[in-house]
Amino acid sequence: MVKKRIIPKFLLRDGRLAKGVRFLENMREAGNPVSTAKVYDSYGVDELIFLDIDATDASRMAVCSVIERVSEEIFMPFTAGGGVSQLQDVNALLRAGADKVSVNTAAVTKPGFVREAARAFGDQCIVVSVDYCRVEGGKHRVFINGGKTLTESDPIEWALKMQDNHCGEILLCSIDRDGTMSGYDLEMIARLAEKLEIPLIASSGAGSLKDCQQALDAGASAITISSMFFFTDHSPIKVRSYLFSQGLNVRASKSSRN
């Protein structure tokens, strides 16, 4: 059966890796994306996600060039995104070597965009990134523009609507937990995974091996990990071995696959 995926998520600013807390705080430089991607390839991770957090034209071109360089040397699936709002943006990233393109703001501001992009490039190419945060009254609401703009949408209803619009996967990001390494939002993952027919990639909050297991047990098809890889001594090999020992269906570690 298809294996649960472990995906490092790389945030890029002007073509360099960056990582912060709750999207906007304490942004730290986290290295050269191409050499870092090669290290993760040698760890045998399942996929890579590159998100441009500047979302300016210049910055997006830098992402294309990163993807181009990475795809010359690394042969695994890549998702790229950040400021994607036109079909030509999707096309540019796919041509650079990305397999999937992540859409966030334009899914809200241009209501037909996800459907149109899915029709043009195939459902499986379009990943909708659902960024959400707890707001007053204990409700959850979707945010766009890199977590800066509140919308009226409930994250579960929004994700299901995006599924109806033919996106191929949902990337679920909790702004409250992003970069905190305090664990994934298991309740939201479980509620959404149960309703979704497409794969759910759980993001935000990984801090321990147990967190990773719990997110997958809650129903996620894949998990993204950023801070835990960049700023602790947990490697993808350790995560994979742990999940494997807990009976989860993941690929064996690269060193033991031979």
Binding site: M1, D46, S71, E73, F75, L94, R95, D99, E197
Partner: protein
């Protein structure tokens, strides 16, 4: 030289990069002369079946490829949608005729089992049904490859099934006959195992 068929269906660059990585000269092309000069042909593809066939026909590639493959016996590797269009017919968004190189139909995944997501995306193990040169020397004991698709091929009889994969049920994930071989998974995205498959294909002399 290896011809990678360019018919406007998805990311051909990764296939080019993989060939470059194994040290082979490759051209991304839809030109008959180039294809004629090639020793091997790769037919990639991402997108929908109907669009793929329309694009092939517009460029007369359906006839060009059939001559190369059926009359000249040139080795060809289909990848993902490139596998599916080698079938007789597909039910993706209506009914579309394919190249018909395999007596096979393309159907959407349908499951009795709850909780199986569509598309089938991620790494899954393949189970070889025959010894085929493109699966020689796989270095990793775990034979997992990267898949992303919502439709799969159903062959009439098991004659052409080179490998199967389990997702709800066993489906054909590699098919082969004579000088034709095709994989539903993406070798160009399947790390070491995938690169080995690509290398095996370009060294294959059926």
């Amino acid at each position: 030289m290896i011809a990678i068929i360019d018919y406007g269906m998805g990311n051909v660059r990764s296939v080019f990069n993989a060939l470059d990585f194994v040290g082979r000269d490759a051209r991304i092309t839809s030109d008959q002369t180039q294809i004629d000069r090639a020793s091997h042909i790769i037919l990639p593809g991402v997108g929908s079946f109907g669009d793929a066939m329309r694009n092939l026909r517009e460029r007369h590639l359906d006839d060009i490829l059939t001559v190369q493959v059926a009359e000249k016996g040139k080795p060809i590797l289909g990848i993902c949608l490139g596998l599916q269009i080698m079938a007789r017919v597909s039910e993706e968004h209506g009914r579309h005729e394919g190249l018909g190189w395999f007596d096979a139909e393309v159907r959407r995944f349908q499951f009795d089992e709850a909780g199986l997501k569509i598309p089938h995306v991620g790494w899954n193990d393949i189970h070889l049904q025959i010894e085929h040169p493109i699966f020689a020397n796989l270095k990793e004991a775990e034979r997992s490859f990267y898949f992303v698709h919502s439709y799969h091929v159903v062959c009439r009889g098991n004659l052409y099934v080179a490998a199967t994969c389990r997702y709800g049920f066993d489906f054909a994930c590699a098919i082969a006959r004579d000088n034709i071989v095709a994989t539903q998974f993406h070798p160009e995205k399947s790390q070491d195992n995938g690169i080995q498959v690509i290398e095996n294909f370009v060294n294959w002399k059926p």
